[in-house]
Amino acid sequence: MKGHYIDGPFGQVHFRSWGDLGQGIPLVCLPPSPFSSVAYHTIAPLLVDDHPVIAIDYPGYGNSQASPQAPKIFDYAAAAAAVIRTLPGEQPANLLGFHTGCLVAVETALQAPEQVNHVVMTDSPFFAPAKRAELLEKMGKPIQLSPNFSGLQKDWDFCITKRLEQIPLTRAFQMFVDHISAGENTNAAFAAAFQYPCEERFAALTHECTVIATSAGLYEQSINTAQAITQAQLVELTEIQSAVLDRGAPLLAKAINKLLAA
């Protein structure tokens, strides 16, 4: 794994790479909220096939500089497109999104159509507008700090307590640290996701697209995504029931490598 920086639309964008960046069509991975490229640390080595793998830190996450205003999915996509432009070779990249990353993948393809080949969306958060508004209110607010740290209990539970049976403690802790590293605005990516006009943007996508639906919580939303994107191919991986990028990594990576090789 190597770290890299490029100059992006809001300052430096950090990304990590696995494999040889000059060899094959790059697979660019876009993280779920509220995490950085750290979310892909387990699965990325399994995704390296005859292509390199890249995972991006959105502005304000990981080591990427934050945007001056509250970010939108459009901004994350602009950062992703800036990274793809700097990659060696002139061939378009394949995109892999998970949760919020699905929305960023679609938006990147719409913003930079010639830089993108195939869009793979895993567990797409395509909620009805009323539900998005509800989730925005519930999950999109800044975290509150207090001297006794009680303000982070919810985040601790989200990353650690509720996941311990699915992934090792060290990995859960790594994700918690990644989450709080973004500071008070760590939920900005949730806010961006729940304000994204999925219906309109999904309908505009013309790229080759695969939607992967697991049983880990967004199955129905992923089926709806596949229906909203006319040309999308639906792949059901219902054997994966939790911790998609960790416990489900071997199965998911195998499926993705197979479809990208086809």
Binding site: N63, P147, I160, L169
Partner: protein, 279 residues
Amino acid sequence: MKKFKRQFAPGKYGQMHYRVKHAEKPEKRPLICLHMFPQSGRNFEDFLNHYPDNRTVIAPDFPGYGESDCPAEQIDATAYAQSIWELIDALNLLQDEGAIDLFGIHAGAKLATEVARLRPAQVKVIVLSSAAILYPEELADLKKAFDPVPLDKDGTRLMRLWDLLVRNQGPGQTLEMLATSLAEILRSGENYEWGHYAVYEFNSHFPEILAGLEHPIALMNPKDDLYQMTPRTEAYLRNGRMYDFSDWGHGFMEVHPESAARTVDQLLDNPLNFAQPEN
């Protein structure tokens, strides 16, 4: 205001991560800033942004901290210091002046003296902040305070480190600043105290090494947890002087970035005759 950039360079243990602010037209030697443990070059972000545009200023992450790759095994103070020289050489920082200046805080201050000991002719001026000489019982207390905490689902490590940060909270340090420091500590993973181990071991050599340095050295003593111990260091300075900064504490580079940057720049110009502003 010109902002710092973050970069990677190849190093012995993998990638070495650093923050750098390049001067448009450098008039002075490059300055290398060395962080405390178990944190990272993040300590210097605001400081770098406010540093006068008269020299290139670099704040590396020691191996295993921040974004720098971790060595496979624990390394000693000399190896940490060598990693800094590897970066200096990789970035070709000696090409114009043939030497650099050093600024280190806490453990980074002690390691700055080891950096200077390794290649003394290539270091000109040193500024140390909170560079304490510790009595055995104080070192034992420090070891106890920073004893690594195993991970558990109750968050014991998190809470103990947070309590430590809150207990040492400097004047003007906000909870957001402390949370950023905490995240920086936690991201070092399971080897987060390797740096402290190296400095504990180095502690017994520190007075002798310091006494052997002929460089002009300015010793800053802000009112943090080492405020009482740092004055003992002054006796070992062959060519140096201590300055009291009792209005500043932990986090002074974040709380007073402009003033801190200007002060360090002036200390580097006049390490023995710095005119401290009246409070």
